[in-house]
Each structure stands twice: as structure tokens, then as C-alpha cells.
């Protein structure tokens, strides 16, 4: 049980800055997910927390204590690697008990702790097996078990599910969430998969190019993205963007020019003036087919998923996506009209920053545990 604090962390690899000053506060028992495209520095950041890389500058504090110069084993952390990194010549039991063996914990106590962890992860039957006799999911569980027996103050997960097939990934995702409830520990999780981020996190840290773009709860990132990058990165399919011009702006909202008439978006329009160019962002699932709609587009591709249908539209020189319900009868090459609720739209300035919404989304600050669905 611990808190983690990063103060202005910088990492320099031979002249290239890969982490450019990251500040972060992780509360006790929080599940924090680092997410971002590959090369954004999320794994490097985690490896610095783990102690496998040193920070070029900045402070890493666990429970308020600076641990920059403490070795990886003495930070009280445990890490689960993407490739599992099991010791191939040791049995499952020896793999899980290795840290205790090094710490000279008596055999009986060691076995007891390994068994306790194995029970949580349903590994009791497999304790005598070697890693190569295990399936991917089982290996993953052993790697987690190896972390659990160390009883760490913070768990670190480095893309732990990316080597699993899709079905197993969903299952392990739920198991990890359950594990977080059960162990009630602070967890930091790196992934490039936003579904993992959205479903498991109390707090998501969106990274790009070594910079934190936004920190917030999954719903806050979804409903109130701080900038163009987060708006485009969070949410699947991707948000649609359209260049628009301001007709009128005041504290109550901003009117923008659209082909089918002006539209008032309820955002704070204090910092902008008439004639400014903005980017209008609207999520595919917030667009709806509407014969009187202000917007039009030609269907390029239709993806029917059963429950929903994704329509890929040609709109001017850009491509839009519209998520409609499952029994849409439209066909490719059809010209369709659609509309959206301005309250769901986002307006982004030329520098990428979003204009803040006047009303906070009711779910934006919900605690993940309040969802209730994952309690054991």
C-alpha cells in the first residue's frame, strides 16, 4: 500500500530526450494506466519507476521518500513483464518463490506464501510444471503470482496482455481487475490498448512523445479531452474532425459555421474571437442518421458488427465514421444525411487545446468502483 510521486522526470538516451519532464501523483490503492502510441515513453517511464533505468533528472518518491538511488529490488515493487520473463529451467513454484529464496526465507514459509498466491490465481495444479509446459495465459498468471508473493507496495505491469489472444485478453483483463479489488494494492499498468486503459483504470495517463497530454479518469478523458491528441486517441472508432469558423463567441457558448447552418456548442468561448478557425470534434457514436441533418456524406465502406454498424463516409476531402445501430439498411455509395447533439461536440483551438465544456459530464468523475460490475 503506497503512494507514488514523480517530479519533473526527464530521461535522456544519448542526447535524445524520451521523457520530457513528467509530473504524476499516484494515490494509495489506485489503478493507474499509462497509455499512448508506441514510442511515447510509457514503458521507459515504468522502467524508471521500477529502477531498471535511471532518471536523468527529477525525483521519484514512494510514500514520500526519494528512491532514485535505491536498487530495483529494494524499492518494494514487483513488475510483470510483457514476455512474462519466467525462469525457464525452474518449476512454477520455484519461479514464484525465487525472490524469497534469494531473501533466505525458510522453505516452509516460502511454500505457504506461494500456495496462497497460487490459490488466488488458480495455479495450484501447475506448481510442479516448467514454464514451457504452460499455456500463454497460465504463464501470465505465474508471472503475476511471482509479483504477488513479494507483497509489493506497488505492482507494475508492462503490457502484460499483449502476447495473449483476444479472448484470453478479455478474460485476463477481468481477472486483473478482480485481483486489484482483492489485493487492494497500488497498480501501475502500461498498455497501448485503450480498451484495457478504459476498462481497468482509476486514472489514465495519456503520454505522447515523452510528454503527459492529460491525466484523468476514463470518463473524464472520453467526455472532456484536453486537447486534439487525447480527443483523437481515446475512443474507438476515432473521433471525427472538421475545420470550422467562429460566428459568435461568449461565455455561454460558441457558434460555429456548418454547411447546414450555424450550430451552438456549449463551451466556454472566452479565449476566442469571431472569425477564428477551430476544429470541431464529434465522436462516431454521437453522430446519428437524420434525414433533416445538417451534414451529408457518401458511404465508402460499411462494417456490420451485429449490434452496431460502422459507416465510413466521404465528407469533403476527409473521411468520417458514423456508428449507427445494427439494422441500418444503407448501402455503399448511398448519400446520407446526419446530425449530432451539439452538447456532445468538442471544439479545439489551433494549438490543439480544447475549449472547456460549460457542463461537466455527470459520469466524468465517477469512481471506477462505483460501477459495481467488477466487485467479486
Amino acid at each position: 500500500m503506497a503512494t507514488l510521486q514523480l517530479n519533473n522526470i526527464v530521461k535522456d538516451f544519448g542526447g535524445t530526450q524520451v521523457i520530457k519532464g513528467v509530473d504524476l501523483e499516484v494515490k494509495d490503492r489506485e489503478f493507474v494506466v499509462f497509455v499512448g502510441p508506441s514510442g511515447c515513453g510509457k514503458s521507459t517511464l515504468m522502467r524508471m519507476i521500477a529502477g531498471l533505468e535511471s532518471a536523468t533528472s527529477g525525483d521519484i518518491l514512494i510514500d514520500g521518500e526519494r528512491i532514485n538511488d535505491v536498487g530495483p529490488a529494494d524499492r518494494g515493487l514487483a513488475m510483470v513483464f510483457q514476455s512474462y520473463a519466467l525462469y525457464p529451467h525452474m518449476s512454477v513454484e520455484d519461479n514464484m518463490g525465487f525472490s524469497m529464496r534469494l531473501a533466505k526465507v525458510p522453505t516452509a514459509e516460502r511454500r505457504e506464501k506461494v500456495l496462497a498466491a497460487a490459490r488466488i490465481l488458480q495455479l495450484e495444479e501447475l506448481l510442479d510444471r516448467k514454464p514451457r509446459a504452460l499455456s500463454g495465459g497460465q504463464r501470465q498468471r505465474v508471472a503475476i503470482g511471482r509479483a504477488i508473493v513479494r507483497n509489493p507496495s506497488i505492482f507494475l505491469f508492462d503490457e502484460p496482455l499483449s502476447n495473449l489472444d483476444a479472448a484470453l485478453r478479455v478474460q485476463m483483463r477481468i481477472e486483473l481487475a478482480r485481483l486489484h479489488e482483492e489485493l487492494d494494492a497500488t497498480m501501475i499498468y502500461v498498455t497501448h490498448d485503450q480498451i484495457e486503459a478504459m476498462t481497468m483504470a482509476d486514472k489514465i495517463v495519456v503520454l505522447q512523445g515523452g510528454v503527459v497530454e492529460q491525466i484523468g479518469s476514463p470518463m473524464a478523458l472520453y467526455h472532456h479531452p484536453a486537447n486534439l491528441f487525447v480527443a483523437g486517441f481515446i475512443g474507438s472508432p476515432k473521433m471525427n474532425f472538421l475545420d470550422v469558423e467562429i460566428r459568435r463567441a461568449d461565455a455561454e457558448g460558441v457558434d460555429v459555421v456548418l454547411p447546414g447552418g450555424d450550430c451552438r456548442v456549449p463551451v466556454e468561448g472566452d479565449g476566442v474571437s469571431i472569425g477564428d478557425k477551430l476544429t470541431l470534434g464529434i465522436r462516431p457514436e454521437h453522430l446519428k442518421l437524420d434525414d433533416q441533418g445538417a451534414l451529408t456524406g457518401k458511404i465508402l465502406v460499411i462494417e456490420r458488427l451485429g449490434g452496431t454498424t460502422s459507416l465510413y463516409l466521404e465528407k469533403g476531402d476527409s473521411q468520417w465514421i458514423l456508428v449507427a445501430d445494427g439494422d441500418v439498411t444503407s448501402r455503399v455509395h448511398d448519400q446520407i444525411r446526419f446530425s449530432f447533439d451539439p452538447a456532445c461536440a468538442h471544439l479545439l483551438k489551433g494549438n490543439g487545446d480544447a475549449l472547456p465544456h460549460r457542463h461537466r459530464h455527470p459520469l466524468a468523475d465517477i469512481d471506477r468502483k462505483e460501477n459495481g460490475g467488477l466487485s467479486v
Binding site: 529490488a73 529494494d74 513488475m79 519466467l86 525462469y87 531473501a103
Partner: protein, 298 residues
């Protein structure tokens, strides 16, 4: 159905055998014929005087092989030689590989430099050794003499001659072991080592629990290669001491050479040669068994 495919595959095998027969014939000519001639020779008294002459002598040669005290002492010297060279090469080679592997830069140049001894012909290594250890002008002999460590004729004294030829072999072949181990080290996954580090393993513990078990297979291969070589080792000793002084470095291959080409007792030499072959096969079989066991257990 199964019968039919069995038949066609048997037919095809006949065809394949026919196609391979020229190569098989050549192989028989250069290996099998000499092999069986050697076995036949070991049951004969072979003389070269006035043309090659075989005189059947039954088990005489074989009885000598197992009773000759010279042969027994040569086997013992061979064993000491074998254990010392292979043991030292494995240990030093592994340490060398670990050191090179821990270098962050310049390891390529270091490896190239380390490998130089391997590319020198053993005869040259022997000549070099003889030159360096010469009591009147050898550099090493002078150094040892000046430092007071040894002041006799190194290659001319019992004991020191043995140490000298062992070290020459170690000097030449340790790099090969280092090279093989280095290749093995590159295959130890980095994140497994990092996981061990997170688990609290110091370098020594990582070496003992992770690195060495991970490369145990490749260590066995290196050991096998060196062991097979050490059994038939010949050139360096032939050049430096030729088995002397007082037969103290007369390992089995040198003894065999003496019997065959100094005393021209070819029948007896054949018997000694076959025992060497059997010993090699036994060692190789033991190693392959070990390797197989390793593979199934890991």
C-alpha cells in the same frame, strides 16, 4: 491404404539408395575399408621389411594393449592432460565470455583479438612455445628465472614440461570456448535477467540461478568439442617435448605415433588406435546422453 503407401515409400527408398550409391561407395572406400583393415591389422604382426607382410598373431596385440605398463602410464598422463586442459579452458573461457559480454562498447574488437590464438596452427603454437621457453634465449624462461619462480629448463624437466604443454593448449583453445559461450549468453533473454534483478538477485546469484542454467546446453556442446579434440591432441607436444622428458608428457597419441612410426610395430599400433577410438565414442555418447537429458528436463 497403409500397405500401399508403405510399399511406395519402400520403393522410393530403393531409388534413393541407388542415387546415393556412388557417394556411399566413395565413403566406403575412404572410411570403411581403412577401418576394417585397421581391425584386421590389430590381429596381425605387420612388418614393412621387404614389402608389406601380415602374419596372424591372434590376440597378442590386444593382450599387450591391456598389460603394457607404458600404455597404462600414457593413458594416465592423457587423463591428467585431458582434465587439466578441458577444465581450464571451460572455466577461463566462460569467465572470458562473461567479461566480454558485460562490455558495453568495443566488444567486437576485443573478440577479434581474443580469437587470434585459435587461428594459429598448433604446430606454430608449439614452435612459439619452444621459442619462448628456451632456457638460453626464451622470454618466458627469462621472466620466470628473474622472478625466481622457476630456474630450470622448463620443457626439459618432468612436471614443468607437462604444465607448459597444458598451458599452450589452453592458450590456443580457450577463445573457442569463449566464443561458443558468448553465443549462448546472447540468447539469455534480457527481461528474465531484469526480472531476477527485481526479485533481488545480485550478479553472482543471477549467474548461478539464471545465466549458467540457461546456457548449460551450450556449455555442454563446448565441452564436447574440446573433449573430442583433447583426446586426439598431438601437434603441440610433438613439436615441444615429443613426449619427454622421461615420457612425462607422452600422452596416448604420441605413444601411438612412437609405436607406429618409430618402432614400426603397425599391428600393435592398430590395436592402440582402436582403443582410442572406442574411448572417444564412449565420451561422445556420454555427452549426447547428457545433452538429451538436459533438453527434456529444461
Amino acid at each position: 491404404m497403409a500397405l500401399m503407401t508403405g510399399k511406395t515409400s519402400a520403393q522410393r527408398q530403393g531409388f534413393e539408395l541407388a542415387m546415393m550409391s556412388p557417394a556411399l561407395f566413395l565413403l566406403a572406400l575412404i572410411t570403411l575399408v581403412p577401418f576394417f583393415s585397421i581391425i584386421w591389422m590389430s590381429f596381425n604382426d605387420v612388418s614393412l621389411m621387404g614389402g608389406l607382410a601380415f602374419e596372424f598373431s591372434g590376440l597378442d596385440n590386444w593382450q599387450r594393449v591391456f598389460t603394457d605398463p607404458d600404455i597404462r602410464s600414457s593413458w594416465l598422463i592423457s587423463l591428467v592432460y585431458f582434465l587439466a586442459t578441458v577444465g581450464l579452458e571451460m572455466v577461463i573461457g566462460t569467465v572470458m565470455a562473461l567479461l566480454v559480454y558485460s562490455l558495453t562498447r568495443g566488444s567486437n574488437i576485443i573478440i577479434s583479438l581474443l580469437l587470434i590464438p585459435m587461428f594459429i596452427a598448433p604446430v606454430i603454437v608449439g614452435l612459439l612455445g619452444r621459442f619462448m621457453l628456451d632456457p638460453s634465449h626464451g622470454l618466458y624462461a627469462w621472466l620466470l628465472n628473474e622472478s625466481g619462480l622457476f630456474d630450470g629448463n622448463i620443457l626439459g624437466s618432468v612436471g614443468s614440461a607437462m604444465v607448459a604443454v597444458i598451458l599452450m593448449d589452453v592458450w590456443e583453445w580457450t577463445p573457442l570456448v569463449a566464443l561458443i559461450v558468448l553465443a549462448g549468453l546472447a540468447s539469455v533473454p534480457e527481461d528474465t535477467l531484469e526480472a531476477a534483478e527485481m526479485d533481488g538477485a545480485k550478479y553472482g546469484q543471477k549467474l548461478l540461478y539464471i545465466i549458467l542454467p540457461s546456457i548449460s546446453n551450450i556449455l555442454l556442446v563446448a565441452l564436447l568439442i574440446r573433449a573430442m579434440d583433447a583426446i586426439r591432441f598431438f601437434a603441440i607436444i610433438f613439436i615441444t617435448t615429443n613426449g619427454g622428458p622421461a615420457d612425462s608428457t607422452k600422452i596416448i597419441p604420441i605413444r601411438l605415433y612412437d609405436i607406429a612410426f618409430r618402432f614400426f610395430d603397425l599391428g600393435y599400433a592398430a590395436a592402440v588406435g582402436i582403443t582410442m577410438l572406442v574411448f572417444s565414442i564412449m565420451v561422445a555418447t556420454a555427452f549426447t546422453k547428457l545433452l538429451k537429458r538436459q533438453e527434456t528436463s529444461s
